[in-house]
């Protein structure tokens, strides 16, 4: 049985109604109808998950944005569901990751029920599927503007972290990523969310000219094509310095250093498309 969690997010009421109608038509067409619950100020995601639990639902279909999915993941608290995702907004990281192009393809993928078990990254009790960013890579406002970029590239980060309790790294960098699953194509050796490990990718600090040349690659997370980029697979990282370094997800600050991120192997059952990035 399917339970659809619908989150309007930033959509207008009219736009949400239009998307909901289309979704219902598609689920009818593919014969995957189920109960729906809409997120509202009075019904939080946690309440909807509890309802699904009481109904003994097997599959939670999260309809909304990346943010909706992350909130559901954070609220699951160890409850075992198979998850699926239907984007209600144009561009989502998760849709790219799962091989979803639009609502119709999402429903088609849901109906096909290709289920895979994935690792998640864990910070305390909060789990995430994709990646966190720090430094230049996390700056959604300034990373393409000349002045914003120059301001940051002339102030590189003195990054210090301990990996797997085995070794400590020190480096001067522009920024980096802690990746469980990548939301972009390419760089196939990193961001594989069923390999039992996370990846730390660090873009090196260099000359301002080098940084300016690299800005598009940073924006597209193509850090591996920047000369001098470092990669470390790991299971647990403790980011030590700089103290107060913000770590962001989808432009929103989630954590500040010092902090610890670890792998939760085989934590999540999720329905994926053929064109997924992993």
């Amino acid at each position: 049985m399917y339970y659809y969690i619908l989150d309007a997010g930033t959509l207008s009421d009219a736009e949400f109604e239009r998307k909901q109608t289309k979704l219902l038509a598609l689920t009818h067409e593919f014969n995957i109808r189920g109960e729906t619950g809409r997120v509202s100020p009075l019904r939080h995601i946690k309440d909807l998950i509890e309802t699904a639990q009481r109904r003994q639902v097997k599959t939670l279909v999260i309809c909304g944005s990346d943010d909706t999915f992350n909130q559901v993941l954070g609220a699951l608290a160890g409850q075992q569901f198979t998850l699926a995702f239907v984007p209600l907004v144009e561009k989502t990281q998760l849709a790219d990751m799962l091989g979803i192009t639009d609502m119709e393809s999402a429903v088609r993928i849901l109906a096909a029920r290709r289920i895979t078990v994935l690792d998640t990254a864990k910070v305390g009790n909060i789990h995430f599927l994709s990646y966190m960013e720090f430094g230049l890579t996390s700056d959604s406002q300034d990373k393409t503007s000349l002045f914003g970029f120059l301001k940051r590239s002339t102030r590189p980060i003195q990054f210090k972290a301990q990996l797997d309790d085995n070794f400590e790294i020190n480096t001067e960098c522009l920024g980096g990523l802690v990746v469980n699953a990548k939301g972009w194509q390419g760089n196939s050796q990193i961001g594989i969310p069923n390999d039992g490990r996370l990846d730390l990718v660090i873009a090196p600090a260099g000359s301002i000219f080098h940084s300016w040349q690299s800005r598009d690659k940073v924006t597209r997370h193509e850090l591996l094509s920047i000369p001098g980029t470092s990669i470390f697979p790991f299971q647990k990282i403790r980011i030590i310095e700089p103290v107060g370094l913000p770590l962001t997800m989808l432009g929103r600050q989630i954590l500040r250093a010092p902090t610890e991120i670890s792998i939760a192997p085989n934590f999540l059952q999720i329905i994926v498309g053929r064109n997924r990035t992993f």
Binding site: N166, F167, E168, N170, T171, Q189, S230, F232, P233
Partner: protein, 126 residues
Amino acid sequence: MQDNTTFDSVNSVPETVVGATVKIQGDLNSDGNIRIDGQVQGTVSTKQNVQIGENAIITADVTAGNATIGGKVKGNVKIAGQLYLQKSAHITGDITCSSLKVDDGAVFNGKCSMGNQQSSPDNHAE
């Protein structure tokens, strides 16, 4: 049994990359290929391949399946398969390997032990 791999096989895609600006202290252990262009103090260990770039500075024992060394290594180097010392290599420590290739200009101060000598007629220092 004859080992059919070549020295080129050492140049495979690295799983762990230590960039030139990175300094590591501790035990760098990996299941995959490692490329080091920065500095490492401690130990370096993998069953796969290690590539040490010409600007790398390693103060560590290195254990690997195969290795190409172009930088400075102060420590013992224990390689199960092939070891290639490039012209920029500077090694202070003992070497153990199955086969060894040394470019003109490489510096090596230490003892060298080569096992598995019957495996291939090419298994000798050049």
